[in-house]
């Protein structure tokens, strides 16, 4: 249906009104015709009455004329004149209907009247024979006249009856036609109404179904095609609604993901701050421990030197005992110093979390940076373990546009990732019984336009799924005590996400591979928090 609902309803009521008006007009017309026919039939009955009346009047005339001829009385003459008069009037009336026949009647009447008048005159003159003859002639005419009048009466009456029967028949057919029109109008109107309502209700129902679907949250709900009518307009708006809803839902999804990332980043950041804060607190007492341990070694040496002549004077057993005690003391102090230094290096790593935002961004060639870090890591690993070997697979994208970053920090991240990759691959080569296994590290770079991607993958032992969430948490490590601080990845996470506004993700399968993906945006977020500086700046504000 191409018309608007309004036009459809207007057309429907127009059609119904039209049918009503036509029916009424037809019936009115029929009724008027019937009334005219009825009146005409009534007229014809009146004519028949006239004809009868004329016949009766002629009968009287004949009687009184005969009476007059015999009695010669004035009364008879008067009566005859009155009857003739009445008959003439009736004939006048009838002449409109049957002029020829009436003219004949008048002619006969004139003949009759003439003979009758002559007969009366003859009787008046006592010429009885002549009178009788004339009267007989008048009677001849009167018989013709009577017959004429009788036929006229019969004819007119028959006409009247025919007219009346016609009227009755016409009225019957008009009633049937009116009834048929009424039934047709009712049926047609009902059908039209049904069609119009259907043309509205079907798309409306589809629309309601679509709305209910949308409310129930079915995003891919079918919306009826948009026609040019009001429902079409509603369908268009609903489609717009659905699209907006879809967009909103997608945006919400992205927002939730971003929020989750943010929450995670925030958690990591506060852990980093906590770590740095703890490191600051531990640093001072540790300094004292280390300093006094160093001093004690020196002091013990001095005591040894100062007491050596006296000790030399002692007996062998006692001297050996004193020497042993000195050695043990020296050894203990050296152990204190050694472990103190170890603690110190951990504290220093922890403090890397509070690098602060002072490091300068520089334009760097990412491939050169990665290559340099890879060589550094490889030679570092070789220096620690002569037997160490690994296949290095480089897949660097050409023509990556230079990117702004803090080179030494990204190098630190890369060294951590390469170191971990070497460790995992090396460990697998020690564990595996597969003689074909060759440790390998694959490093690739890619330009994504707004971001630069670095992937570091190894075919080592992999990371168990339950560890993946904790991977970037400070102090989380799967390495044996003393081999890792658990700070490398947490610091890397800080550098990539906090300092550079990038992302670092991990994909791994136990016993197969681990792959880290770093993405660094070309344009670092302006609000990138220099969060590492927080403990310092808090202290600074306390001072000033």
């Amino acid at each position: 249906m191409q018309l608007t609902i309004r036009s459809r309803l207007v057309m429907l009521s127009s059609a119904l009104l039209l049918v009503l008006a036509a029916t009424t007009g037809y019936l009115t017309h029929k009724l008027a015709g019937e009334a005219a026919a009825t009146a005409k039939a009534a007229d014809m009955f009146a004519v028949a009455d006239r004809a009868s009346s004329a016949r009766i009047a002629f009968g009287e005339l004949r009687y009184w004329n005969t009476d007059l001829a015999v009695s010669q009385l004035t009364l008879a003459e008067q009566k005859a004149a009155a009857a003739r008069d009445r008959m003439e009037k009736d004939l006048d009336r009838l002449s409109g209907q049957k002029p020829e026949r009436i003219a004949k009647v008048r002619a006969e009447l004139a003949e009759y009247a003439e003979f009758a008048g002559k007969a009366v005159d003859a009787y008046t003159n006592d010429q009885r024979v002549i009178g009788n003859s004339l009267l007989a002639q008048a009677r001849q005419h009167s018989l013709v006249l009577d017959e004429l009048l009788g036929s006229i009466v019969t004819e007119v009456s028959a006409d009247a009856i025919t007219a009346r029967d016609q009227v009755v028949a016409d009225a019957g057919s008009a009633t049937r036609i009116a009834y048929a029109i009424f039934v047709a109008a009712v049926l047609g109107g009902a059908l039209l109404t049904f069609l119009v309502l259907r043309s509205i209700s079907i798309p409306l129902r589809a629309l309601v179904a679509a709305m209910n679907g949308l409310i129930a949250g079915q995003v891919e709900v079918d919306i009826p095609p948009a026609g040019p009518d009001e429902i079409g307009a509603m369908a268009r708006i609903l489609a717009l609604f659905r699209d907006t809803l879809n967009e909103l839902r997608e945006t919400l999804g992205r927002l939730k993901a971003a929020q989750a990332n943010l929450v995670h980043a925030e958690k990591m950041a506060s852990l980093g701050q906590l770590t740095a804060g703890i490191a600051h607190e531990i640093k001072n007492p540790l300094n004292f421990v280390n300093n006094f341990a160093d001093l004690s070694v020196e002091l013990l040496d001095e005591v040894k030197t100062a007491t050596s002549p006296a000790v030399a004077m002692l007996g062998d057993d006692e001297r050996a005992e004193v020497d042993e005690t000195f050695e043990m003391l020296t050894g203990n102090l050296e152990k204190i110093a050694e472990h103190g230094r170890r603690a110190d290096s951990i504290v220093k790593s922890m403090l890397l979390h509070s690098r602060g935002g002072s490091a300068d961004r520089q334009t760097a060639d990412i491939n050169a940076l990665v290559e340099e870090a890879l060589n550094l890591a490889y030679h570092g690993a070789r220096a620690q373990d002569q037997g160490f070997n690994i296949t290095q697979d480089r897949d660097f994208a050409d023509d990556i546009a230079p990117i702004e970053l803090v080179p030494q920090e990204i190098t630190r991240v890369l060294l951590n990732l390469f170191g971990n990759g070497f460790y995992a691959a090396n460990k697998r080569s020690h564990q595996t019984s597969d003689p074909a296994y060759r440790p390998a590290l694959k490093v690739s770079t890619r330009d994504l336009g707004g971001e630069v991607e670095i992937k570091v993958g190894d075919n080592g032992i992999g990371i168990a799924p339950e560890f993946r969430d904790k991977l970037f948490t400070p102090f989380f490590t799967t390495k044996p005590t003393g081999e890792g601080t658990g700070l490398g990845l947490s610091i890397s996470y800080d550098i990539v996400t906090q300092q550079h506004g990038g992302t670092i993700t991990v994909d791994s399968r136990v016993g197969e591979f681990t792959e880290f993906t770093i993405r660094l945006p070309r344009i670092a977020p302006t609000g990138a928090p220099a969060r590492g500086a927080t403990p310092d700046s808090a202290a600074a504000s306390g001072e000033s």
């Binding site: 600051h280 640093k283 001093l295 602060g356 002072s358 202290a539 600074a540 306390g542 000033s544």
Partner: protein
């Protein structure tokens, strides 16, 4: 020549540490160590006494009450030629810049490298009046 060193730090063990680290120099009479545990105490000691010999002040920055930088300004106000070395656990650029702006001779970060400190002390210009 004896050089007086005034060490300002709110942590008492710093005194022991310096005494032991400088025990040979103290024995030889190269340095005389004085200690103050707050900026205020340092100013009192400076105003009241101490040898007219070259005085070097080693001050922590982060102290309750008058902090090291405030002490540095006050000292530079009253004894402009007195060499002052600042020591802090926080080696950030901002502190370094302010210390240098206020006229600190050196800026050391904790833990103090005593060999380096001794070398720097030897290089100080003879500021004796």
């Amino acid at each position: 020549m004896t050089v007086s060193i005034l060490i300002v730090d709110d942590e008492a063990d710093v005194a022991d540490l310096f005494r032991q680290r400088f025990r040979r120099e103290a024995r030889q009479g190269t340095y005389v160590l004085h200690f103050a545990y707050s900026g205020e105490e340092a100013l009192e000691k400076l105003a009241a006494e101490i040898e007219p010999q070259l005085i070097v002040i080693l001050s922590d920055i982060n102290m309750p009450g008058m902090d090291g930088l405030a002490l540095l300004r006050e000292i530079k106000n009253r004894w402009p030629t007195l060499p002052v070395m600042m020591v802090t656990a926080y080696g950030d650029d901002e502190r370094r810049r302010r210390a240098s702006e206020y006229g600190a001779a050196e800026f050391l970060t904790k833990p103090v490298d005593f060999d380096l400190l001794k070398a720097q002390l030897r290089q100080l210009p003879d500021a004796s009046p």
